[in-house]
């Protein structure tokens, strides 16, 4: 849940990139970090990974956007380790999330991993008494440049049960990365503003 610091006039939001192992969550953050090196809205990226570049704990990238009603909006971008083994870490990282990007791997061979990972996301949120549909989330169908990929309409049928925004992406080339992030940021800020006005934050 977003935290508001009235003294410093800041709103801090947490966005989590979730998905099966090797689907491109860390690549999304790396692209955002790399391409924003000339801008001033990204901080340093923290990454705890194995030598094989598998995320061991999480990646973290702080960002600062604009001011909304006099408050600076800051985002912390996190990824989770996708491997089945690290569910406790995923659950911990997911705690207090304000928005989620579900990164799906478009390859035919990984359809089942995507379904399992989405179910795992639902289960982990349920352990915090949160329904996935109550949290702003978007879906990114990554690796669209590979040849052996499932059509987007079919991935949508399997994964996008609520008709949330979904994007095709080639994270390595940066395609679809910003569209995914900017739309999620919009929905998260709308949600935060709404809750702020309703007095639930």
């Amino acid at each position: 849940m977003a935290s508001i610091n009235y003294a410093t006039k800041e709103i801090n939001c947490k966005l989590v990139y979730y998905g099966p192992g090797m689907c491109g969550k860390t690549t999304n953050l790396q692209i955002i970090h790399r391409q924003s090196s000339g801008g001033n809205y990204c901080g340093e990226m923290v990454s705890l990974a194995t030598p094989g570049e598998r995320t061991l704990y999480f990646d973290f990238l702080p960002m600062q956007l604009m001011e909304v009603r006099g408050f600076k909006v800051k985002f912390g971008l996190y990824t989770v380790p996708g491997q089945v083994l690290y569910n406790a870490t995923r659950k911990l990282v997911l705690r207090g999330a304000d928005g989620v990007v579900f990164v799906a791997d478009s390859q035919w061979d990984l359809i089942q991993e995507n379904i399992d990972s989405l179910q795992n996301l639902r289960d982990n949120l349920a352990s915090y008494d949160i329904k996935l549909e109550d949290l702003p989330y978007v879906i990114q169908y990554n690796k669209r440049d590979l040849t052996d990929v499932a059509p987007v309409w079919y991935l949508d049928y399997l994964l996008n049960t609520s008709g949330v925004p979904a994007y095709g992406a080639i994270a390595l080339e940066g395609a679809g990365v910003y569209e995914t992030l900017s739309d999620l940021c919009r929905y998260v800020i709308r949600d935060v503003v709404n809750r702020f006005e309703a007095g639930t934050i």
Binding site: G52, E67, V84, D105, W108, Y154, S182, R186, I189, R190
Partner: protein, 324 residues
């Protein structure tokens, strides 16, 4: 256990009860015409025993036709006798013959017994065929067989995968075998089977049509079947079996669901006999092999947008840009 019970309820439901009722009523209506037939003297105990045996063989044949396994056959015989005795009792009550004569075939009773046998056979064929067809089917609780003889209970809790540190590749080779316990290959001496939480779904009766896949896809799940299946065969599968599983992505079919009418015959090979060893095997179909053949209507879903998508935009929304 719960799953098995639910499965039985699904295979013998209200339609089957109605069919059974209709068969019994039709049989009852035939009691009086049958009594008018010329009587046959069947008073020998030897003939009695022979008739019992013939009756058992008839039930066995019907049950085997639908179940194609020994368990189903025995259940079918038991069901046949139960229905026959119940029908017999009803008939005897209708025509005021003492129930003590239920096991005697002589005289007029012989014809009434024959009528009850016909009723039991019809009941097996019309009301119990779904039940018989599902006896012996692999159930939700998985077990791994090796070598075809020894049963080994399979640990349903996924074991932690060992972390292999390797250079990242964008094209992943598929599911890690440790994950769901479902990718045990026959090459390792074990059979492919659905994941632990797999819940078998019955074919949808309102879905018609078939799709065709190459037999080579079936051989990927049951490689030993190459002795009775040529890889280039086109195998027709009922859409009714596929459609209920669409939301799962990967479809799991039992051998019997794929080969409802038996394996296509091969020259010089006794396919029917060899097929028996694969009767309890599972076949996994990746969606890439079937989705283009499934009509679009079955992929339609009613989607309700979440409340947060309907919230109004805020003033500075257009300022959200990440270009450096």
């Amino acid at each position: 256990m719960v799953t098995t019970r639910q499965h039985c309820i699904q295979t013998f439901g209200i339609p089957q009860v109605f069919t059974l009722g209709a068969v019994l009523i039709a049989g009852a209506c035939l009691v009086w015409p049958v009594r008018l037939l010329p009587l046959r003297a069947l008073n020998s105990p030897t003939v009695d025993v022979m008739l019992w045996v013939v009756e058992a063989v008839l039930y066995l044949a019907i049950a085997l036709l639908f179940s194609r396994n020994a368990n189903g056959a025995f259940v079918g015989v038991a069901l046949g006798f139960i229905v026959r005795l119940a029908a017999n009792a009803l008939i005897f009550l209708l025509v005021s013959i003492p129930l003590a004569d239920l096991f005697v075939f002589g005289g007029e009773r012989g014809l009434l017994h024959a009528l009850a046998i016909v009723i039991a056979m019809l009941a097996l064929a019309l009301s119990f065929h779904h039940l018989l067809a599902n006896i012996g089917l692999p159930q939700a609780e998985p077990s791994v067989k090796n070598g075809g003889k020894t049963r080994v209970a399979f640990d349903t809790h996924p074991k932690p995968a060992s972390i292999r540190q390797q250079a990242p590749s964008r094209t992943s080779p598929g599911r890690p075998s440790e994950e769901a316990g479902e990718t045990m290959s026959s090459e390792q001496g074990t059979y492919l089977h659905p994941p632990a939480d797999f819940n078998p779904i019955l074919p949808r009766e309102d879905v018609a049509g078939t799709l065709t896949i190459q037999a080579s896809l079936i051989l990927e799940s049951v490689p030993e079947a190459k002795s009775i299946l040529a890889p280039n065969y086109g195998i027709s599968i009922r859409l009714a079996c596929i459609v209920p599983q669409l939301p799962r992505g990967t479809v799991w079919l039992s051998w019997r669901q794929v080969f409802e009418n038996g394996v296509p015959p091969m020259e010089k090979v006794d396919t029917a006999r060899l097929e028996q060893q694969f009767i309890n095997r599972w076949i996994r179909l990746s969606p890439r092999h079937y989705i283009t053949q499934v009509p679009a209507i079955y992929f339609e879903k009613q989607k309700t947008k979440p409340a947060w998508m309907k919230l109004p935009a805020f003033e500075q929304e257009a300022e959200i840009t990440f270009e450096s």
